[in-house]
């Protein structure tokens, strides 16, 4: 993979790292390890470059970062404090925080499918290729992830307003 290709992939890879790790510091550590590995290992001919990059990133996360639980998980992370008098903006930030919190409770399998499809807009076929899973598994994992996320959010909203 050329450096130009790698540079093009950095923003989506970074978002993917953030989706998996739930915090910036771990996301950037994971991104760094991914870049190191991508620079050392050429992309196999049979695999699309971006699928390869995401797969390397995901495997690193599974093998190293997740087991070490380097820093705080999503659930323990504090929402960022923004000085803003704009209540709509604050509400939006709170929604994002609640989503972060709910995502932290999902399994890794659900997180990665959600990240590739909902954030990066990958097709199911491409996600299946990237994660090396059957298309049906992608569909069902994504649906379960969304349903669980939805349930968790509804519970949180109801709890807060009660």
């Amino acid at each position: 993979m050329s450096i130009a290709d790698l540079q093009r992939l950095l923003p989506p890879l970074r978002r993917f790292c953030f989706s998996l790790t739930g915090n910036r510091a771990d996301a950037d550590d994971l991104l760094q390890s991914t870049v190191e590995k991508l620079l050392k290992h050429p992309t196999p001919d049979a695999v699309a470059m971006d699928s390869w990059a995401f797969r390397i990133c995901r495997n690193l996360w599974i093998d190293e970062y997740r087991s070490r639980k380097v820093r705080l998980a999503y659930a323990a992370a504090q929402p960022e404090v923004h000085d803003s008098a704009d209540s709509e903006q604050q509400e939006q930030q709170m929604s994002i925080y609640l989503v972060e919190e709910a995502i932290a409770k999902l399994s890794n399998e659900h997180q990665e499918v959600l990240a590739l499809i909902a954030i990066e807009g990958m097709s199911y076929k491409k996600a299946a290729e990237t994660l090396d899973l059957p298309l049906g598994t992608i569909m069902s994992r994504l649906a379960r992830a969304r349903a669980q996320l939805n349930e968790a959010l509804q519970a949180r909203y109801n709890g807060e307003t009660a």
Binding site: S2, R14, F18
Partner: protein, 230 residues
Amino acid sequence: MISDETLSAFLDAELPEADMQQIYQQVQQQPELALRLASLCSMDACFRKMARRLDDEPLPAAVTELLQAASQDNQPQQGWWQQSYSTLQRHAAAVASLALISGMLVGYYAPAEADHWPLIASTLEQSVSGQSYTATKQLTLTPTLAFINNEQQLCRHYQQSTATATSEHLACKQGDNWQLIASAYQPAVRHSGEYQLASHQSALDSVMDQLGVQAVLTLQQEHDLQRKNN
């Protein structure tokens, strides 16, 4: 009752067209289904916002340093831009032509370019690599590579052909204006059958090294840029 899986696939437009239409109609008719869908949409939107917050932040220094070190490591043998240069098939014509060039001269500004410069600059602005453009009746330009230099300027390497001569050039965009950086000329008449590929390559290579190649634009990126400029 539409399953979560089907609704999720509907949201991602991953169902067959007939199923998409059928669910779309049901969403119109069933407020509860519309609410379920809206809930999924809003959750996805929050998720995207969450992840995209990092987009505006600078890359971690460690990653930037890794990339810089990698590009420097690659330069002494075959610069990574040269790898891209040769990997991208669109440069094949330019590479082939280099083998036929002898007695090259390298200059940092050629007065002869001045006459046609507005046309050349306009072509650089609106062209993609690998295609030939007729600037005037006598002058054909073939951009061969677009890249970003150390100063984050867009630069182009291109060939210029007339009936009597061929030349290679590097130009970079400074502000809104293209500036010619370096040129290498082929004499109109070769006096020897001995071709000297190495001397020519080292001449423009060293200029590119001085400019620093941060990123080579892919053909798709060039097309996007061209659309933006047009």
